[in-house]
């Protein structure tokens, strides 16, 4: 049994979950769309984009990046539940490669997030957002967003395996909000007090949001600083760095189940 095949079978298990209980993912999508509408139309009129540009055009890529960040929560929850209920132990007592369980999670969550991203793209186009860059650049933007989700996956797997309990999931659910808002996902860092703006600019989420804006041909809200020059580079570097830290930590947490 190859690790890949086992990983694919575990992925299919999660895909079957969505068929059985479609309301979870559907509510997740509705939540993203609700946030989009709240910020786009309720708050949007009061928000200025530094450097000019339409707020909806600015907001959409930020919302996409935000939903990639929020994915950490569903990954950690799914991983923690399996570990707590003994399903992970059942997998571990089977003759399958030790990476299969994580691979299954990766397959399922990346599929979920890809669908989510597509829905947001379509939804965004429906509310007046436009891609003005070329198609290759737009595809690269989508890839960068998925790369961010990929790095969040490893953080989620690590948290789920390491802290197993429901408390950890709640902590993640609360923490994603300040991390999400303390970025340029929704408002430009340049409208924030200097020190806060600096933190927001260095948030990995900001790199992805800004890079996606550049590549989609949307206003970036950035007129200077590191994000103005190196957004795409940072949008690659941050997720790669996070993955380089949390993939080994996840592997270690999985091995430590044996302790």
């Amino acid at each position: 049994m190859t690790t890949l095949r086992a990983g694919w079978i575990i992925t299919q298990r999660d895909l079957a979950h969505w068929v059985r209980q479609p309301w979870g993912p559907i509510f997740g999508l509705m939540f993203s769309i609700m946030l989009l509408l709240v910020f786009g139309f309720l708050f949007g009129g009061a928000i200025n984009v530094p450097g000019g540009g339409d707020y909806i055009a600015y907001l959409l890529p930020g919302m996409m990046a935000l939903s990639m960040l929020f994915g950490v929560e569903s990954t950690a929850t799914a991983m923690g539940n399996d570990a707590r209920k003994g399903i992970t132990d059942r997998f571990r007592a089977m003759p399958i490669g030790s990476a299969s369980v994580a691979l299954g999670r990766v397959g399922a969550d990346m599929t979920n997030s890809t669908v989510e991203l597509l829905v947001m793209l379509v939804g965004g186009l429906a509310v007046g957002w436009r891609i003005t860059g070329d198609a290759t650049a737009a595809a690269l933007a989508v890839l960068l967003l998925l790369l961010l989700r990929f790095s969040m996956l490893w953080i989620g797997i690590f948290i789920g395996l390491r802290f197993r309990g429901e408390g950890a999931t709640s902590a993640v659910q609360v923490l994603v909000w300040p991390i999400g808002f303390l970025s340029t996902a929704i408002v430009s860092a340049e409208t924030m007090p200097g020190w806060l703006g600096a933190i927001a600019a260095w948030n990995p989420l900001s790199a992805t949001a800004t890079a996606a804006r550049e590549l989609f041909g949307n206003p970036t809200g950035v007129t200077g600083g590191v994000l103005a020059d190196h957004a795409v580079l940072l949008a690659v570097a941050w997720p790669v760095l996070l993955t380089a830290i949390f993939a080994p930590l996840s592997a270690r947490a999985y091995r430590r189940l044996r302790a």
């Binding site: 049994m1 079978i9 575990i10 979950h17 059985r20 399903i87 132990d89 007592a93 003759p95």
Partner: protein, 302 residues
């Protein structure tokens, strides 16, 4: 050769010796009971034998394979049914079994055929497509055991399979376990329930503080703590009778229970001399409960 073999297993968690020189020898094809109170180390022993944890010391072989060096072969030879039903609650029963079958390397068609076979065997065919979250406790357990049998493993590990089940569900699970053993699978069953071990197991290892403190058939274990018990129900003075016989009183049933050491006649004579008024007299073998309490009380509590 023993199907399950463990010698000198040690596993330390902080200050606690979860396994402290655990030994086990189980031949093929039997149900072996691992009996002990909460915290005796039963689950740790199962986890060690199913390759889920690393051992600090000792040697263990399952179906002839070393749990350390040949973990993969061990995993291909066992089924594990843990303390909590480890089945996917969102999926249907059949979907669960097909998934586990495919993870064990069966092709799609073979996994489906095996799933149907097991559903039939465990009388779950009617609920096959329903989400497991709608199953009763007993059904869930049966599915859980079925999932451990997808491969027809050489050894099935059952860790407290009836904890939290009502008596009817418990009976259903017992039947499933007996049938599993009858088909040739060696079963290691951990339990805190003495009657469960008594009912199912041909051999029992009594465990406390991380090691086996007694071993044998239920009958042999009962013999081990001495002779038969006699319970006499009296009209006359209970305490006096108990003192004269060296027995234990039960006020509610107005009875005295005493071990038969010098024959029944001697007991009757003593009671007659006291004019105790024997209403009823029952002779019985000691229960496993008594064996268990006697054995674990002898153990120094550390």
């Amino acid at each position: 050769m023993d199907t399950l073999f463990a010698e000198g297993l040690r596993k330390r968690y902080g200050d606690l010796d979860a396994l402290d020189g655990f030994d086990l020898h189980v031949p093929a094809g039997v149900i072996h009971g691992l009996l002990g109170p909460n915290g005796a180390g039963k689950t740790t022993a199962v986890k060690a034998l199913t390759t889920l944890i690393d051992l600090d010391a000792g040697t263990a072989r399952v179906a002839g394979f070393d749990v350390r060096g040949q973990a993969r072969q061990v995993r291909a030879s066992i089924g594990l049914v843990g303390q909590n039903p480890a089945v996917d609650e969102i999926l249907g029963g059949r979907q669960n079994l097909v998934m586990f079958g495919r993870l064990y390397g069966l092709g799609k068609a073979a996994a489906q055929a095996r799933a149907d076979e097991l559903l039939d065997l465990f009388e779950l065919t009617g609920a096959a497509e329903r989400a497991v979250s709608t199953y009763s406790g007993g059904m869930r357990r049966r599915l859980d055991i079925a999932a451990g049998l997808v491969l027809t493993p050489a050894v099935l590990f059952l860790d407290e399979p009836t904890t939290g089940l009502d008596p009817r569900a418990r009976n259903e699970v017992w039947t499933s376990i007996r049938e599993t053993a009858a088909r040739g699978t060696t079963v290691l069953l951990t339990t805190q329930y003495l009657d469960e071990a008594d009912q199912l197991a041909s051999e029992i290892s009594v465990m406390n503080h991380g090691r086996v403190i007694a071993e044998g058939s239920p009958e042999a274990l009962k013999r081990r703590i001495g002779g038969d018990r006699v319970t006499v129900t009296l009209r006359g003075p209970l305490d006096e009778a108990a003192r004269a016989l060296g027995g234990v009183t039960d006020e509610e049933t107005r009875s005295v229970t005493v071990e038969v050491t010098e024959g029944l006649a001697a007991i009757v004579r003593t009671l007659d001399a006291l004019d105790a008024g024997i209403e009823d007299l029952q002779l019985r073998r000691p229960t496993l409960d008594e064996v268990f309490l006697t054995l674990t009380e002898k153990e120094p509590v550390t």
